[in-house]
Symmetry: C2
Subunit: 211 residues, 2 copies
DNA sequence: GTCTATATCAGGATAGAC
DNA sequence: GTCTATCCTGATATAGAC
């Protein structure tokens, strides 16, 4: 944020923390694009504008970078979702809460695509040690949605002929995958989110007459 | 199929083609589990019960194995879908055709999970040369669904306030992702497919009264 | 805090025996 | 058709100068 460092030689950096964030961002982008194993720290370093050796000043290992990228992917989305739902009136119907959740999930995800897509793509492929550490964050977010859906079910707003677990897995999976094909050139984000929401809520079929 | 080879030394195999298929299957499994780059040909060879050098008798390169695994992932699903839909009466409503397509897609995918999941997981991460060759097969399958949905739309059976392209991408993506979390212990495949279908057709909300 | 080395190890691919 | 042995390249991580 402040660039007024006084007397440092040109080969030294001004803000070490900015470098760290840049490394994380470029790592996420490259993990997404080429996978975890295929991404070399040399590439990450190049993209972040440092030399490979310098990465080890900020991180202990490649796996530590992985862990931070994964956590960030979920947390960004989770926080957006919670913020939107908390902003609703206390007595808002569950349908409105779920709608806010869907919109928040899509928004958080599509605005930090490298972190969220990297998470989706590589989670299935990383060493068990990395998965285990990351699992806590994942579980929390899943529980949040489970609670939301079960409350809607108890209030009679959700269909009863499909299990809430399957609904959660199916819907969140479907939302997540949009990051792989969403194209902002097809229309505004708002219109995109609206189309996704109506399909999730009411399905793909034409209705005899909608009220 | 026939095991009556007469006089071959123990270190030689009986059926070269079976070895080739085994290599493909194990490659798919390992690509799915660890990614393309992280999977070594030594691992594939071990899993297939041969030595690393032997792979090069059956395949020219690692990338050729990749190509065959990817194509197989789509083709298995495509063929199942087409077979189910072709088996319907000629005048079947589009809703029934789409239902058969959904069930066929799920069935083909979940019964060849290593090929289909490997495809989903690694397609975004492989070299452009491999993507380009595989794109033809992908495009064909997408076109097939586009045609299905556009016919349903023309017949007034599909909702009109969401684009068919978005519906296709969203629904196929959602179906695909089930391979990442489907658990046969939660119930029969038939019941699973039914739950997915009602959600796709009619959404997650409770209906005032269903007819 | 970043650099230039470099130690160490592992993977794709090939050659040639059997 | 499968094996053993090896070439060659490139990756993580470390050491120590600046």
């Amino acid at each position: 944020m402040n660039d007024k460092s006084a007397s440092k030689s040109a080969s030294h950096d001004l803000d070490g923390n900015a470098t760290r964030e840049r490394i994380l961002l470029e790592a996420a982008r490259l993990f997404r694009q080429h996978g975890y194993a295929a991404t070399t720290l040399r590439e990450v370093a190049d993209a972040a504008g440092v030399k490979a050796g310098s990465i080890y000043y900020h991180f202990e290992s490649k796996e530590q970078i992985l862990g931070e990228v994964l956590d960030k992917g979920i947390k960004i989305v989770y926080e957006t979702v919670r913020a939107r739902i908390d902003a609703l009136p206390k007595d808002a119907p569950w349908r409105d809460r779920i709608a806010a959740g869907i919109e928040g999930h899509l928004w958080g995800m599509l605005h930090h695509g490298d972190f969220t897509s990297a998470n989706m793509r590589i989670y299935g492929q990383i060493p068990e040690s990395a998965k285990a550490k990351h699992r806590v964050v994942r579980r929390e977010y899943a529980d949040y949605w489970d609670h939301l859906l079960q409350s809607a079910l108890a209030a009679g707003e959700l269909r009863t002929d499909a299990s809430t677990t399957i609904i959660r897995l199916f819907v969140i999976g479907a939302l997540n995958w949009t990051v792989e094909w969403y194209n902002p050139q097809r229309g505004s984000f708002q219109d995109f989110a609206r189309q996704i929401s109506v399909v999730v809520f009411d399905g793909i079929l034409a209705h005899q007459e909608s009220n």
